[in-house]
Symmetry: C2
Subunit: 355 residues, 2 copies
């Protein structure tokens, strides 16, 4: 199995290629001062680092089923662009202060310009995907565009669920509701769609029949859902316990933002009514009125009530289920051995990382 070091090297080298592709593609210079400033905004998040997880998953799945890395390069880079434009809007919607260790885009330029820059970058994502035509032909390019449309449907639906809970100050959320939100908001764009795109880009459609190709596509939805859920829970746990210098976001930021996480769902369900009311009062305050003392107290309650441990267990259960389904899937097909080991190693990292 690939060592963690090799995985980090793989991620870094892929990330470098995505960055080059994106930075070459995005507009850079304009004679007009304002438009020049838009270009700088569009290039801001893509230049901030990040791990290149989603693009790498797409590349690996292309290789897994016999495709080459180069075939999947534009599509993988477009996945990274998706992540970048949607984070610009997410950060506004969630009232986030920081992104990848720097002020969120709307904190630098204001909400109005940041919404527009997100839209401009969103457009560029589709434009980059249209460049697939020369290498991949029209039909495959169009199939890829359709996958992006489906991904965006799920992501915005998940975001709506989460934002609505915030907007209506709803806290009585079941674990089922939470998992449904996370599947839509995270699993699709982090796991399911990247794998499905990689499969489209591989030679699987010509090598396997139509039937088994569409079988694999739907199996990806199954295991990708479990994987994405595990990924998001781990991400939310890290928001509480990670090393801030590595993590790049504000620690306990989710509590300040009033984000509904599995830990919060568990904590509230395990509390007696009077104490719960007090916690809800603090959680429901606008961000600016929340104090560090209050947020740390809630964090302490989570630890005391075993909510963090519980969340880690749920993540672990979904992670195991994902790996089991993944292993079952790949044993049925003559997959590329190296890509298999790298994918497995990446999937394990997704759910076991510490930053």
């Amino acid at each position: 199995m690939a060592e963690p070091t090799n995985l980090q090297e793989l991620l870094q080298s892929n990330k470098k290629i995505f960055d080059e592709t994106i930075m070459d593609f995005l507009p850079r210079f304009s004679d007009n001062k304002e438009i020049q400033s838009l270009y700088e905004m569009m290039r801001d998040y893509p230049s901030r680092g990040g791990k290149g997880l989603r693009g790498t998953i797409c590349l690996l799945w292309c290789q897994l089923f016999g495709g080459t890395k180069s075939r999947a390069l534009l599509t993988s880079s477009a996945l990274e662009l998706f992540q970048n434009w949607i984070l610009i809007h997410d950060d506004i919607e969630d009232g986030s202060e920081m992104r990848r260790g720097l002020p969120a885009l709307h904190r630098k330029y204001g909400v109005e310009l940041a919404i527009n820059a997100g839209d401009a970058l969103h457009g560029k994502m589709w434009e980059l995907l249209l460049r697939n035509i020369d290498d991949l032909g029209s039909d495959l390019s169009l199939a890829i565009l359709s996958e992006f449309a489906v991904m965006l449907d799920h992501t915005t639906e998940g975001q709506q669920m989460e934002l609505s809970w915030n907007y209506t100050n709803k806290w009585d959320i079941s674990e089922k509701d939470y998992l449904s939100m996370v599947t839509k908001k995270s699993a699709w764009y982090t796991c399911i769609t990247p794998c499905r795109l990689g499969l489209h880009l591989s030679v699987a459609r010509s090598n396997s029949g139509e039937k088994s190709f569409s079988d694999i596509l739907s199996q990806i939805v199954d295991f990708g859902t479990h994987l994405g859920i595990a990924f998001q829970i781990v991400d939310d746990v890290l928001n509480l316990v990670a090393d801030e210098s590595k993590y790049g976001k504000e620690i306990l930021g989710d509590l300040y933002e009033g984000k509904r996480t599995l830990m919060i769902v568990h904590l509230l369900q395990s509390m007696e009514p009077a104490k719960k009311e007090r916690v809800l009062k603090d959680l429901s305050k606008p961000r600016s009125l929340k104090t560090a003392t209050e947020m740390n107290a809630i964090f302490q309650l989570m630890k005391d009530s075993g909510s963090i441990l519980y969340a880690r267990e749920v993540a672990s259960k979904h992670s195991s289920q994902a790996m089991k389904l993944f292993d079952e899937l790949v044993t049925k097909y003559p997959v590329d051995k190296t890509a298999f080991l790298e994918t497995r190693s990446l999937f394990q990292y997704l759910t076991q990382r510490d930053y």
Copy 2:
């Protein structure tokens, strides 16, 4: 020439078809309460009326060069969807209160949910365009997607120019700057791209050679720029002088929003420094601090200084130039007579309407 009544009938009957196409296409029901609410938000602006101008231009240009209306239906409806999602974001960015006679979407649901609903609707625009494949084949469908990408580039660049002027409180804007902003922000999506799309959808590519086809595409940019400029100036004048019940937006709303219009540019250039400083002080106030007395006083100054008359003259000049170029263009090709008359009548309406 087609009578105005016929034009209104044409617009209304087209609008009805676009609405049906869009409403059939957009998701309607979800078991999940929050997602159901997203669907209602996505269907809100498209259900509010509007004129269907951009979709109609696209239909007419398809017919003008020998295509059928049905070929252009999805694309025309996608243009209307573009208008709808970008207005959701525009209304947030401009701080608009009203849209088509009702509260703006973010006034009903909050900024966070409205940004996300705009993104969801934006995704649906591309998804609708992907449905072109069955009827139009891959190559033409992809050419249409590219036109949309270019349109979005221009529109977001124009929006950035306008928002930046607002954000930096810049008022020393030349007429050239203003025209450049309006070309990007309005002319592309209102005139240039709808005409170009119609041409793509017609039979012109097969009937004319590649050379003359691309000649027409670039001539559309020329006359569409003039037409779009005239359209936007007229729209801005109407914001000052229209009948509010017909217009559907707040009268003098542009003054409250601090919008840089040709009338403002002209007024500021024609004022002596001391008086100008006073006007700038009022114009620069945040919306909530502006009073009706102050805004009416600025409106009066515009009338006194001939700024509105001047703007009408500039609009008229661009309108005439657009019609001249349009007439020159169509006389070179064997265009459909009925579509020609309807298009001409529509173009005249765009720049001579009173609501």
